[in-house]
Every structure is written in C-alpha cells, then in structure tokens.
C-alpha cells in the first residue's frame, strides 16, 4: 500500500468514525420533549432497578398525561441548580422544572427570583417539611430525612454519639468522614446543622469543632465519595450521611450493623432536616405541564416509590416498608432548621463556607 492510500485511509477511518459517533450522540440526545426536567443523577436510583426506576416513573407520567418529558441529569442537585442559574445568567434556554432543591437553594433561588409560585394542593404534605423548605409555595417538598452520623458498629462499637464527642476525642475524629461543604449539598447542610447546634444549643463558637477535627477527619468531595471511602477504608467507620442508611443496609444486605446518630444535649435530640423539593422555573413556556408534573410527583403513585428508591421519607402519608424500622427514630428529633431563617441563609452560606475554607487552609 502506498503512502497516499494509507494516509487517505486514515483520514477516511477518522471521518467515518466521527460521522458514526455524531449519529449516535444525536440519537442519544433525542428530540427535546415538551417538558425539560433537571435532576441530580442519583435521584430515585438507589432501588433494585437503579436508574431505570426514574425512567419508568417518567414514562408513566408521559402516558397518563400525553406530555413528553426530557430529563437532564447532573452530578448533584447543586450542579443542576447551578446550571439553571448559569443558563439564566447567560440568557440561554433552561429547565422548566428542577428536582432536588434544598432549603438553602430554595432561599437563594427565591431571592434571585428564578422560581415560579406553584398552585398545587399541599393539604396532605408534611407541614414541617413545607415550613422548612418554603412556606410560600415556590418550592414544594418531595421527600425528607434527617442528616445523621452513620457508624458501622462491626468496626466501631458505640452506643451513643454526639457531635461534640469528635472534638473531645481525636481518635474518634480520625475515624470520621465529613463532606466538603464547598462542593457538596450534603456537606453544606451538615455545616448548617453543626453551626446551629454549636451556636444555639451549646452556645459555643462553631469553628471550635472544625478546628479540633479537621486534621484528623477525612474531607470527601461528595456524598458518594464519602460513601465509597466509608466502605473502602476500614479505618473510617463513621460518616456524615442520612438517618435512613441503616434501613438501606438492612434491605439490601440484611445487615443491621449500621447505626445512625444525631446530636443530643441535656436529654434532647437535635438534628437537621434534609428536605428535597421541586420548583418550576420562572418564565417557562410549559407552566401547565410543569404543574401537572409537580402534582404527579406528589401523587401516591410516585410517593410510595420514594422509600425504597430514594431512601428518604415521603411527604404524604404512605405506609413505610418494613426495613424502615431500622432507620433512626426521628419522632424525638428536634430539627434545628428554624435557627437559620430563609432570608439569612444566602449570606450565612457564604460566611460559613469561607470561614470553613479559612480553617482548612490554616
């Protein structure tokens, strides 16, 4: 084969592969549906069907209402929210609906005026979740849980744990995995909890805790990283996670070795309610479809799937599966969310993350 033929052959192979790839990507992207939904990629993905569960539920909505839905997935709810903000800021087309909005994102988004008020029936929706997430009705709760310190009791036998224990024992702190609040929504919510508990319950400066643990604890970049490290590194049997983790462990592995703890002081338990909600983006051309979609998310058909697929509590009264008897009993937990009013949350987020960075860098 002469050089010219070889060279033309190489170009031809590259061109053919590029064209084939382009066709593949165009097919994958598909036609844009009537409703564009942004969601984090693990939403409803922790059940036996994995990521397919959300697809099934979305197809069910599409068939019921004859509305096409395009779902765009992001690494985290924060990323999905950032994408909406970026797209609005840069004047680009954005989502009609976004799923995974936390109280801090709700307050921030409302202040920026990016959410549309949604007129849906919330009479049977958990009142605490509404009051924590958004009493004004711009963001509607979908599910909730409590943040907790999860311990693998096979590796560390503890019967009692509170946040201040880590500050008192560097050995305990060296077993802990926390999550970077500058890159993770769960990490940020944990920072709010720790701040509220130290400042309002213990009456101490919140930075003291971080200064005592930061050189011992492992700072993971995301919840999933923390989870991988929790199971990968035998020396780190405690992680910041959710109250329902023991139920997950029981359901999938028939294991009762995980225990969840929240902080306690003078006989009272203090936690941080983690609420996820759905919001409609202001200016959407599909307001009617978006409202129907939100109503579908609040329906029993959808809500009953939450406990075993998203491992959170549904916001409407739905019978919980048996595995949930292993989850933390949250009935006695006092949520500290009201210590941080929505109007101050954006400024507090900046203050806390910057001060946290300062501690890390010291």
């Amino acid at each position: 084969m002469n050089r010219k033929a070889l060279q033309l052959g190489i170009i031809a192979i590259i061109v053919i592969a590029v064209v084939a790839g382009a066709v593949y990507y165009m097919t994958q992207e598909g036609e844009r549906g009537e409703l564009l939904v942004y969601v984090y990629d693990s939403f409803m993905a922790y059940g036996k069907e994995g990521e397919k569960k959300l697809d099934t539920l979305i197809r069910s909505f599409e068939e019921k209402y004859n509305i096409n839905v395009t779902v765009k997935k992001f690494d985290s709810a924060q990323d999905a929210y950032n994408a909406v903000l970026n797209e609005i800021e840069l004047g680009k087309k954005t989502a009609d609906v976004i799923i995974g909005i936390t109280p801090s994102l709700a307050a921030e988004g409302k202040k920026k005026g990016i959410f549309e008020k949604i007129d849906v029936d919330v009479s049977n929706v958990n009142r605490t979740a509404i009051s924590i997430l958004d009493p004004e009705g711009y963001v509607i709760p979908l599910d909730y849980s409590y943040l907790a310190m999860i311990v693998d009791t096979d590796r560390l036998n503890v019967t009692d744990l509170s946040l201040e224990d880590f500050a008192l024992s560097s050995e305990l702190a060296s077993k802990l995995i926390v999550i970077n609040p500058t890159t993770s929504g769960t990490g940020l919510e944990f920072l709010y909890w720790q701040y509220a508990y130290y400042e309002y319950i213990l009456g101490e400066n919140w930075t003291v805790w971080w200064k005592s643990i930061i050189n011992k604890a492992y700072v993971a970049s995301s919840w999933s990283s923390a989870f991988d490290i929790f199971y990968g590194d035998q020396n780190r049997p405690i992680m910041v996670s959710y109250a329902t983790d023991p139920a997950y462990s029981y359901y999938f592995y028939n294991s009762t070795n995980l225990r969840a703890f929240v902080s306690h002081h003078e006989g009272y338990y203090y936690g941080w309610m983690y609420v996820e909600g759905v919001a409609v983006i202001k200016g959407t051309e599909h307001l009617k479809e978006a409202k129907l979609f939100v109503e579908y998310l609040l329906s029993e058909d959808f809500q009953k799937e939450i406990p075993l697929n998203n491992w959170m509590y549904p916001v409407i009264p739905v019978a919980l599966p048996e595995a949930y008897k292993y989850a933390l009993d949250t009935s006695k937990v006092i949520p500290l969310n009201d210590k941080i009013p929505p109007e101050s949350i954006e400024a507090l987020k900046k203050y806390l993350t910057v001060e946290w960075l300062k501690i890390i860098k010291e």
Partner: protein
C-alpha cells in the same frame, strides 16, 4: 505565481485566525463583558478577598518552586547522564518524552497511590502538588538542557573540560551561561504549565490548596459568580501571555555542534534516581490495580469495573472526542501550516489555560453547540499548536524543486494536496494525529468545565474514582491510559526518528 502564493497565505491566515477568533477570543471577550469594576474591587478589597489573594499567591508559589526544582533536577540529570553514557542519556530522553505526555489525572492518581495513601508527603498536600509537577517538568528541562548540551561546539566543550581541571566553579559557571537560553526557556515553560495546572492541585491539594484555576472553577461553577470568575480568567490570560511573550526574548537557534562530555561514572546516581522517580509512580499503578491498600490484600476486584457501563461509556466518549478533535486539529493545522504567520497565529490557544478555555466555551456556546462537539473543539484547540507545528515542519521539508515543478506543470489545488503534499508530509501527518489523540485522551480542565455525566471521559472518570479513593479501579483504568499514552508517545518518536522537540 507570487499573487497566487499571497492568496494562499491570506486564506491560511484568515481561516486560522477566524477559528481562533470564534473559539478563543470571542469567548474571552464574552467573559470580559461579564466582569465589572465591582467584581474586580470585590475580588481585591472585598470581605473575602483573602481567598482570591491566597489562591493567586499560592499559584505563584507552587509554580515557582515546582519550576525551579524541575529545572535543577532535569538539567542536572541531563548533564549527569551525558557524563555517564550517550546511550543512557538517549534512553532517558525517550522516557522523559513519554512522561511529559502523560495525562495529568493519571499522574495525580499515581502519586496518590504510590505515596499519598501511605502518608508520605510526596503524594498529597503541598509537596504532593510539587512532586507531581516535577514529574512532568523535570523531563521538559531534561529535553531542553540535553539538546543544549549535546549541540554545543565540540572544541568549546573540550577546552572547557581542560580548564575545569583547575577551576571547577568557573567551569560550571561558564557551562551554565552557555546553556542559559535552554534553562530560561524550560523554566518559563514549566512555570506556565504549573501556574495553569488544574487536575493535580484539585486531586492532591483538596480544599486546602487552591490555585487560581481551582478558584476560577469554584467561583463560576459552584458560586455562579461569573463577574469574579471572568476577572480571574482574564488575569490568568494576562499573566500567561506576559510570560510567554518574555520567553520569546530568550529563544535562540540551537547550535549545530556535537559535543561529547568527558565520561565520569561517579554521576551514575543521578540518572538512576531520576529513572526511579519517573518510573515508580507509573509502575505502582499496575500494582495498585490489584492491591487493596485498605484490606492490605491482592484482589482481582478492579477487573469488574471494565464491564461497568459507565466505563464503557467513558471509553467510547474518550475515543470519539479524540477522533473528532484530531480531525479538527488536522484540518485547521493543515491550513495553519501553509505559512509561518498562520502557524504562529495557531499558538494563540496557548494563552488560555484549559479551565479558562472550557469556561469561555461553556459561557458562550453551551446552548448553541452540543457538548459532544464542544468538548472535541476544546481538545483540538489544546492540540492545535502541536499539530500545526508538526505539519509546518513536514511541509517545509518538501524540496523547493518539487514545488517549482508543480507550478510549472500546473499541479495545484486538490491535486497538489492528493498527489504531492499528502505523500510527502506523511510522517508529520501521522505525528500530528498521534499528538492530537494523546492530548485529547489526557485533557481534563476544559472537559471538566464542559462535561455532563453522559459525556464523561476516562480522564474525568479517573479523577472521580481517585477522589472517592477507589484506588483499585482508578489505578486499573490509569494503567490502561498509561499504556495507550506511552504507545502513542513512542509512536511519535518512531515516526519523527528521534526528534524530541516539544513545540510550544
């Protein structure tokens, strides 16, 4: 004929400049329009200005330290290996070239796996960043200093060595002065690479050690503060532009001598240490693909990840992006290689770091151009200087007589390209392809700014796995990337017949 040549020159300059204008200068201008006096004031004097100042100072500090250690190490090893054996120094030159072309996420993973997981400072934190940067830039210095030393005049070196018997200090001083342009050029380049480094500080530094690049990423993608992010991006372009402009002042044409340094085997320790430093992290990837440091046992568990759809998707994305990036850089590179002016214009993409490039492309084009095209465009822009220079070198090697004959027999346009140009620049063409592929496979900064999970590449996947300390899987995928990258780098050397220049 002169008019025809000028027309080709104009077209070449116009096409190259338009491509760069659309994909670099327009996005940069768009970013500039997003910044404001308030953003600049806030960054420098605001309540949280310390993060910006801290990141900026840290960028300078780590870049200066990394570049200096790299040049001292690489330069000395080049000298020492030439004192030991010419064959050894040639072998180290091949190793240096291969190491320099390694993807940054893979190097970060290898340092973390080799040292960081065992608590050795070389693998995480400040010294982790420095040592991973030295891994890249000591080879750069080696190649530059080796070329400078081995192309000095034989007579000059002989008289210097004779003189050295009486005054060692003066000998080294004179030698250093003679290779100073190579030292300054390699230091400056190393400084730019370290200053704009993203994957290494992100993986090994964590939240404690933020460079300007990491802060740009954080400000724009996490805080959504485009004003501040754009200001920092422009500041970064200004710093890199100034440094690259200064480097031109020190450029000298390489002398064409063939010096031989007097043999002295007492220097053997330096090449050996260098060999260990460069090879150990890469070899340890193979080890860590099958050794679980947490349970301290060997396992084949990592192999399961190869059947994971996420890995398959990342591999296909990587392959596709590399091919499309190669096609784009070949087309633009061929046009840019038509004359020296357009080739120099193609170097403009060096002004932006890959993070700033990704940010600009995201800001301006993310809703106009699909991500699966935008990522390869970013990769092509990073690879363009290498592709265009190689194609230019190939084109300039076409004998003038052949071009004259073509003109005489009116062989031009497509026929000229098919019958004359393509067969004659075959080696340069292959080199440009391999450079583009190896750059695309390893590119992280721009990809990370642009990607969504469905467009994840192997490089990004390695970063995610390493961050989650899934070292078995991260090491296994890194090993495969190292093999591919090494093969391509060796292929480049084979085709270029020992030409080790890393054109920038």
């Amino acid at each position: 004929m002169q008019r025809e040549l000028n027309a080709y020159t104009v077209v070449s300059v116009l096409v190259t400049a338009s491509f760069l204008f659309i994909f670099i200068f327009l996005p940069l201008s768009y970013l500039a329009s997003k910044t404001s006096i308030e953003s600049i004031y806030d960054a420098i004097f605001g309540k949280y200005s310390w993060i910006f100042i801290d990141s900026l100072l840290f960028s300078f500090k780590q870049a200066i330290i990394s570049a200096t250690i790299s040049i001292v190490t690489g330069g000395f090893v080049a000298y020492a290996s030439l004192k030991v054996s010419r064959r050894l120094s040639e072998a180290l030159r091949i190793l240096s070239f291969v190491a320099f072309m390694m993807p940054s996420t893979v190097v970060a993973t290898s340092f973390y796996a080799t040292y960081g997981i065992r608590g050795i400072p070389l693998g995480k934190g400040f010294w982790g960043i420095i040592s991973a940067h030295v891994f890249y830039n000591a080879p750069l210095a080696y190649i530059y200093v080796y070329s400078a030393l081995s192309t000095m005049s034989r007579e000059l070196v002989e008289s210097l060595e004779f003189y050295a018997m009486r005054n060692k200090l003066k000998y080294y001083y004179t030698l250093l002065r003679m290779i100073l342009p190579a030292v300054v050029s390699s230091w400056t380049l190393a400084f730019v690479y370290c200053f704009t480094s993203f994957a290494i500080p992100l993986t090994l530094g964590g939240p404690k050690y933020w460079t300007l690049e990491v802060y740009i990423y954080y400000t724009t993608r996490i805080l959504n503060n485009y004003g501040l992010g754009a200001f920092m991006a422009l500041l970064q372009v200004l710093i890199v532009g100034t440094v690259l402009f200064l480097i031109r002042k020190y450029e000298r044409a390489a002398p064409s001598g063939a010096a031989e340094l007097r043999r002295d085997f007492r220097f053997i320790w330096a090449p050996i240490l260098y060999l260990i430093y460069e090879l150990l992290p890469l070899l340890s990837l193979v080890f860590h693909a099958f050794y679980d440091p947490f349970s301290r046992s060997f396992t084949l568990r990592a192999l399961f990840i190869l059947s994971d759809p996420i890995v398959l998707r990342a591999a296909l994305n990587t392959l596709y992006f590399a091919l499309l990036a190669t096609l784009i850089s070949l087309i633009i590179g061929t046009i840019a290689s038509m004359n020296i002016h357009s080739m120099r214009i193609s170097y403009s993409s060096l002004l932006t770091s890959s993070v700033v490039l990704g940010l600009g492309l995201y800001a301006l084009y993310s809703d106009r151009i699909p991500t699966w095209i935008l990522i390869p465009i970013a990769h092509a822009l990073v690879a363009l200087p290498l592709a265009s220079t190689n194609l230019y070198v190939g084109r300039s090697r076409i004998p003038q007589e052949i071009n004259e004959m073509c003109r005489l027999y009116n062989v031009r346009g497509v026929r000229y390209y098919l019958d004359v140009y393509i067969p004659l620049v075959f080696e340069s063409f292959l080199t440009a392809i391999m450079f583009s592929i190896v750059v695309s496979i390893g590119e992280f900064g721009a990809t990370y700014m642009l990607y969504q999970r469905s467009y994840e590449t192997l490089s990004v996947l390695v970063y995610r796995l390493t961050s989650a300390r899934r070292l078995l899987e991260a090491s296994l995928i890194s090993t495969l990337i190292v093999l591919l990258s090494s093969l391509l780098s060796l292929g480049i050397l084979k085709v270029r017949r020992g030409d080790y220049r890393i054109e920038v």
